[in-house]
């Protein structure tokens, strides 16, 4: 869906998506890194479980909701990646306490 332009010479940084290491670049947001990874990173909505990907990438639509380092429902498009960051794709409703 997206590829990295050859203009991009930023350093790699590795995050962990559902237990698998994924390469991102320094300065990527979590959502950009997920979309660039080529993996199936569709979340399932809380209401019907329908698959979704980020829609606006600017913090207004909340379709990028993702669990980051154990905290659920974070806006992935507003959070920059960090080395070793643990990402979980949300499927359905958020679990209590997360």
């Amino acid at each position: 869906m997206f590829k990295r332009s050859d203009q991009d010479s930023r350093q790699s940084v590795h995050i962990v998506v559902d237990g698998t290491p994924v390469e991102a670049r320094e300065g990527d947001t979590v959502s950009a890194a997920l979309l660039a990874s080529g993996r199936d990173v569709r979340r399932g909505t809380a209401v019907s479980g329908a698959p979704r990907l980020p829609y606006c990438m600017m913090g207004v639509c909340f379709d990028c909701l993702v669990t980051i380092d154990g905290v659920g429902n974070r806006q992935g498009c507003l959070v920059p990646v960090a080395a070793g960051m643990q990402i979980e794709i949300q499927k359905g409703k958020r679990e209590i306490g997360r």
């Binding site: 869906m1 332009s5 019907s48 329908a50 829609y55 606006c56």
Partner: protein, 472 residues
């Protein structure tokens, strides 16, 4: 930079570090006012200059001169005494000018003598069948990824809609080696005629030559279909095709990515939650705050600058930011105002920057069928409520957006109506034979961005706060 505010009160708190907010903060700080600039993103620039301090796209001509024009203003604010906090989410603002800020999962309140809202715009909802499918995004989303991460569309890509941003994005994607298979232009043919009376002002504005050059650049590389009057996305759990109608002819093309855009509208959530009066704008088809010529709102001490004050573009936003800040300086430190350029200079610049806007507003007025959907098309993405669901609720007594919440939960999901509010207002207005002004909008309240209860509970409390709720 990711820290909590250093003080608990400021002369001026500016919310949003796009063109208007940067200009406002620079002006207020220059006059010696204690100034706090709060911004939700990782770096300053807002949407138009997004990632200007960090973009991996280093060859300047790829993003264009208008993008790099922001660098001076960012530098001006950074070298001023204004305190800047990035990744700060403002979730509350009230009539006492208390600002609730969340930074890194911790909330604090600061008090302001003047607040300048520069929360900008967001893309108008584009509720077509299938717009919730993975692979359907806004054009702005693609532009954000392009500017901040040098990511460009790769597989079969369709761009659909209208307006200046669409052509700029297309040019930027092509310059960075990205793929666009087709552009579907939804501009209504009759708009060209309606816009004609405004054409002279437009042709003598800077938009004209820039717009023509961009369209020429894009058309040389991508097939463009004009007069698109119907649009639908389809696929099983993922976008697979786009169907459109142009000139009575229906066509379906394969697509992995569909980028939608039909203009931008003010981001009203924080202003409305603070009690700022808004009116329905019949030309721009959105809610705009009621402002005086100094950008002051109906709430004492709160001003709005930039596209949040009504869409005017980056050039107008900068000037409005300076006007709002100068008005704050005049009120708080009249002697210091003499250091700044006179208001009359700013007003002349604003008139210049707004030249050609009414042409764009008229030409790119989105068509009714792309604003007011029907049948099973989703209106509220968060709560997954369709146009038919809403019309059914109207049929059994829902009178406006706030009653509709009780029937269908529209606008009660995490986006708090940002992606459905305008559609709900216009859909209900049409169904009930009323004007959008009569139908109204969601009653917005803090927190305007979700925060956890734990974060709210951890906000430092004074003895008075505790006594206010403790019995006996």
């Amino acid at each position: 930079m990711n820290t909590t505010p250093r003080r608990d009160s400021y002369d001026v708190v500016v919310i949003g570090a796009g063109p208007a907010g940067l200009a406002a903060a620079a002006t207020a700080a220059e006059a010696g006012l204690s100034t706090l600039l709060l911004d939700e993103n990782a770096g300053p620039g807002g949407q138009v200059w997004r990632a200007i301090s960090s973009t991996p796209v280093t060859e300047r001509d790829r993003l264009g001169v208008d993008y790099w024009a922001g660098a001076d203003l960012v530098q001006a604010v950074r070298s001023s005494d204004a305190e800047i906090i990035q990744r700060a989410t403002v979730w509350s603002l009230d009539r006492n000018l208390e600002v609730g800020i969340s930074v890194g999962g911790v909330s604090a309140f600061v008090k302001a003598r003047r607040v300048i809202l520069a929360t900008g715009a967001l893309e108008r909802p584009f509720p077509i069948p299938g717009w919730t499918l993975p692979g359907v995004m806004t054009a702005g989303a693609a532009q954000t990824m392009l500017k901040s991460s040098a990511l460009v569309p790769d597989g079969p890509t369709v761009i659909a809609g209208q307006g200046p941003l669409l052509w700029l994005l297309a040019a930027q994607i092509l310059r960075l080696g990205g793929r666009i298979d087709r552009i579907l232009d939804t501009t209504e043919r009759r708009n060209y005629l309606a816009a004609l009376p405004h054409a002279f002002a437009f042709m003598t504005s800077p938009y004209f030559a820039k717009g023509l050059a961009l369209m020429k650049e894009v058309r040389a590389k991508v097939p463009v279909v004009t007069g698109v009057s119907e649009l639908a996305a389809a696929g099983d759990g993922q976008l697979a095709s786009v169907t459109y109608v142009s000139g009575g002819r229906r066509e379906t093309i394969p697509a992995e990515l569909l980028l939608l855009h039909q203009g931008v509208v003010p981001n009203v959530n924080l202003a409305m939650a603070a009690g700022v009066e808004h009116r329905w704008d019949d030309l721009q088809l959105c809610w705009s705050p009621v402002l005086d010529r100094d950008c002051k709102t109906s709430v004492e001490g709160i001003a709005i600058a930039g596209d949040g004050a009504g869409i005017g573009g980056a050039g107008a936003a900068i000037v409005r930011g300076r006007i709002a800040a100068r008005a704050a300086v005049e009120a708080l430190a009249p002697a210091a105002a003499a250091k700044l350029a006179p208001m009359s200079t700013f007003r002349a610049s604003l008139a210049q920057a707004e030249r050609g806007r009414s042409f764009l507003d008229t030409l790119f007025r989105p068509a009714r069928q792309f604003r007011i959907p029907s049948g099973g098309t989703i209106v509220c993405r968060c709560e997954e409520v369709s146009a038919k669901d809403i019309l059914d609720a109207v049929a059994i007594g829902a009178t406006g957006p706030n009653q509709l919440k009780a029937y269908r939960r529209t606008g009660m999901g995490p986006c708090q109506g940002r992606l459905c509010g305008l559609t709900v207002t216009e859909l209900m207005a049409q169904a009930r034979g009323k004007t959008p002004q009569e139908i109204g909008y969601y009653r917005l309240r803090a927190p305007v961005k979700p925060i956890t209860l734990a974060e709210l509970a951890a906000v430092p409390k004074t003895v008075a706060d505790i006594q206010a709720v403790v019995r006996g």
